[in-house]
């Protein structure tokens, strides 16, 4: 089934929606965000003994206790946490603590080396995104973005992504770029996300030896496409779509 592409969005596969994607196996080894992934028997953390010490420290620190939110206030954190969950489809535990990672970076004044001439500094951009998301949710008769239904959140984020929202004096497309840049680099720096996508992770000093098409190292696992969705859904005790 890996030969088919029916699971891909260009071919009618996953669209933004609630609940787990149909047919995706439950993770059997290690942790993945939301407990499913394409590589159910792969845990990149089994390989930590093969990583160099400096890299190991840096990567494993991402699994340690999450720092408290310090840059955003409570209200912003609620809105932006819901935003990160929506754009990453993190609708259930276990979640990668993306907003906490973003907050830590902004709190430490870590910059990315550029700012659009017509945009405020990144931290202010995030705050403004929080305000605007709440306003958009209220315009759709929710109390705020965080407490809005998944449908409303998807609606607002969908229009944000398409650049269809008009926010006074605030270029929406660039705001989307700034927010998504940080969100994605937080999520895909996390070993749980590597488990989900079957990424081999740090490979120093061991390196890779099997480079050809369809080849893998002895410790890499094949993807699993052949799960019977009906059985799998029943096993996981979740409703189908």
């Amino acid at each position: 089934m890996s030969e088919g592409v029916g699971h891909l969005p260009h071919h009618g596969g996953a669209e933004p929606h609630e609940g787990p994607p149909p047919g995706l196996p439950r993770q059997r080894r290690g942790t993945t965000p939301q407990g499913y992934g394409r590589y159910p028997d792969f845990d990149v953390l089994d390989q930590v003994d093969h990583w160099d010490e400096v890299t190991r420290r840096v990567v494993l620190s991402r699994l340690e206790k999450i720092p408290p939110i310090r840059f955003f206030d409570e209200r912003e954190a609620a809105t932006l946490g819901a935003f990160c969950d929506t754009v990453l489809a993190q609708h259930s535990e276990p979640r990668i603590p993306v907003l906490a990672m973003v907050d830590a970076k902004l709190h430490a004044h870590q910059l990315d080396g550029y700012r659009y001439a017509d945009m405020p500094p990144d931290g202010q951009t995030w705050r403004q995104v929080a305000r605007c998301l709440d306003e958009e949710a209220r315009a759709l008769r929710a109390d705020d973005f965080a407490s809005a239904s998944q449908g409303i959140r998807d609606n607002v984020v969908g229009r944000f992504a398409e650049g269809e929202l008009a926010w006074e004096g605030f270029p929406v497309e660039k705001a989307w770029a700034v927010a998504m840049r940080m969100t994605l680099s937080a999520f895909y720096s996390h070993p749980w996300a590597w488990n989900e996508i079957g990424f081999g992770g740090p490979a120093y000093p061991r390196g890779f030896a099997r480079l050809g098409p369809g080849q893998r190292e002895h410790w890499e696992e094949p993807p699993e496409f052949a799960t019977d969705p009906v059985k799998d859904v029943a096993e996981r005790g979740v409703e189908g779509e």
Partner: protein, 567 residues
């Protein structure tokens, strides 16, 4: 040397006058010799201060030190120890980049940070991919041939011996190169991964030829540099010392010949006397200001920081900035259009393996009148890691569950990229912004807008990438528009009206001020720039060292005091 003989001798010839690879420690990656490095007094007038220890600065320092010049290099970033400072991880490598604030504007703003420049000994080549193609002879005469942009005041023939020399120092590995001025490489081509094999097969079906290389990764024994382990993290700094960057290709030899490198030392101002000559450089270490006197100042800080420093060095003698009497400093800064197209294959390709730079085609490099635009593009490979892959998926318009689905499919994808030559335009410029950095120096602002020729070139490049992937059997494609590389801004020119420096990199307005980095390029071709920047530095060093460039008030440089080799 004939191609055949060069092939027989591949890898067995040691580069002349550069022992860097043999000075490295076989057991540790850090550069030996820092403890015993030369130290000059700030009040002493050294022969040259170089600002920036990257592609241009480090190469120039190594060459001139071999000729006895007393040189201090000021480098804003740290003196890296790859064992301790670098990680085998994408997000953990952000400290390699120039992350200080910069402002971007124009109708097509260029995102900077990790995409453009580095900070530290070795410069941006610490995290460059490692492609090292030469420019084509046509690149030096774009104005004469196509009626646009500019001609260089030098030709391909002027750089050719230096290309050959630097290729042996890096060393460059690849197949015999049929494009531009055909040439071979000192090291054999590396094995390529699955995706590159498929792409080459697909391309061949539609008449497009790819070659393996050229990359600055030794293939075979080369001094104390270990072999590549195909771990795919070249853009995060090579912890193995397999990929060549000035940190390991020129700095060790420079230290052994008496160069002092002061790291974490950010130049804030070039000082000038009443006669309009440079006297030295003011710089800041840990918030404390210092000053180094020098007979000659060379700026090699990259195409953004070099114009910034010149503009900020304005004073009574040069009210609009150093070397900026004609209002040309910072103008003509260029990036290459670098769209990437990824293709989905039934087999796992696992594009995180093998160095991202694998194969290249320069079949579309030259102007083709049938295409309706001038100049062209090159095709290469890129190998995005998960975060870069997520940016790619996002750019194709996906978020939420759709994004996660494409991410989960990562191992089935392979990514090609193009480098499209965009033309230099005077309104594309580096200027000083209203805000300042921690040292009180205004930050750089870079404005960028494309012209119609640029857009047509990028569109053609993107279409060709699609065609190759389709012919290779890709089941689905994802596209991202982006830029790569950044050169120009202090163009060399044949006359003072047309540029900032002359053919010897000397500022037209300041006789003892030189610029030696990517900013001197009047045009950029569709080749990656690092090799050419090093070759330019190598040529300048030869001319300065042999006294063919006169530095007024000092006689010819040959009369300068030669120190004996300290080791």
């Amino acid at each position: 040397m004939s191609t055949r003989l060069a092939t027989v001798l591949r890898g067995s010839r040691r580069p002349p006058e550069n022992d860097s690879a043999w000075l490295l420690d076989p057991e540790r990656r850090g550069v030996p010799g820092r403890e015993s490095m030369a130290r000059f007094a700030e009040r002493e007038e050294v022969d040259m201060v170089i600002v920036g220890c990257g592609a241009g600065g480090a190469t120039l320092a190594q060459r001139l030190a071999r000729r006895g010049w007393r040189i201090v290099v000021l480098e804003a970033g740290p003196f890296w120890d790859p064992d301790e400072d670098w990680v085998s991880d994408e997000a953990g490598s952000r400290h390699l980049f120039w992350n200080d604030p910069r402002v971007i504007g124009g109708s097509d703003p260029v995102e900077l940070g990790k995409n453009n420049s580095g900070r530290g000994v070795g410069g941006s080549m610490v995290h460059y991919a490692g492609y090292v193609p030469r420019f084509h002879p046509s690149d030096f005469e774009v104005r004469s041939r196509d009626g646009v942009a500019a001609d260089w005041p030098i030709s391909y023939a002027d750089l050719k011996p230096h290309y050959e020399r630097v290729e042996r120092e890096l060393p460059a590995a690849g197949e015999h190169w049929p494009w531009g001025d055909p040439h071979g490489y000192p090291h054999s081509p590396h094995p390529v991964a699955g995706g590159a094999l498929r792409a080459m097969e697909g391309a061949r079906k539609i008449g497009i030829e790819f070659k393996v290389g050229p990359v600055a990764i030794a293939n075979g024994s080369f001094g104390h540099r270990p072999h590549c382990i195909y771990r795919g993290l070249c853009l995060q700094g090579c912890k193995v010392n397999a990929k060549g960057s000035p940190l390991i290709t020129h700095v060790p030899d420079a230290l052994a010949h008496g160069v002092e490198i002061r790291d974490r030392a950010q130049a804030t101002r070039i000082e000038v006397d009443e006669a309009g000559r440079c006297t030295g450089v003011t710089y800041v270490v840990d918030g404390v200001e210092h000053h180094q006197r020098a007979a000659v100042v060379t700026v090699a800080g990259y195409s953004i920081e070099t114009p910034r420093l010149l503009l900020h060095s304005a004073g009574p003698r040069f009210p609009h900035g150093l070397a900026n009497g004609n209002d040309l400093v910072g103008r003509g800064v260029m990036v290459q259009g670098a769209p990437q197209v990824a293709g989905r294959f039934p087999e796992e390709m696992r594009m995180y393996k093998a160095p991202p730079p694998e194969i290249c085609s320069e079949q579309f490099y030259e102007t083709d009148p049938a295409r309706g635009f001038v100049r062209g593009f090159a095709l290469q490979t890129v190998g995005p890691l998960p975060i870069a892959w997520a940016e790619h998926v996002l750019a194709d318009g996906h978020w939420g569950q759709a994004l996660r689905e494409y991410m989960r499919d990562y191992n089935h994808w392979y990514t090609l990229g193009a480098l499209a030559e965009l033309l230099p335009r005077p309104q594309n410029r580096v200027t000083l912004a209203d805000e300042s950095d921690a040292n009180g120096v205004p930050v750089a602002r870079m404005d960028y807008s494309q012209c119609d020729n640029d857009r047509a070139n990028i569109a053609a490049a993107k279409q060709t990438l699609h065609d190759v992937l389709e012919a290779a059997g890709a089941q689905d494609v994802l596209t991202i528009d982006r830029y790569a590389h950044l050169v120009g801004g202090c163009a060399m020119s044949a006359s003072p009206e047309d540029g900032v420096v002359d053919s010897d990199h000397r500022a037209w307005e300041v006789p003892n001020l030189f610029v030696c980095d990517g900013s001197v390029m009047p045009t950029q071709g569709s080749a990656n720039p690092a090799l050419t920047i090093m070759a330019l530095a190598s040529r300048l060093a030869e001319r300065l060292g042999e006294g063919r460039v006169r530095v007024p008030g000092r006689g010819t440089s040959t009369s300068w005091r030669k120190t004996s080799n300290p080791r």
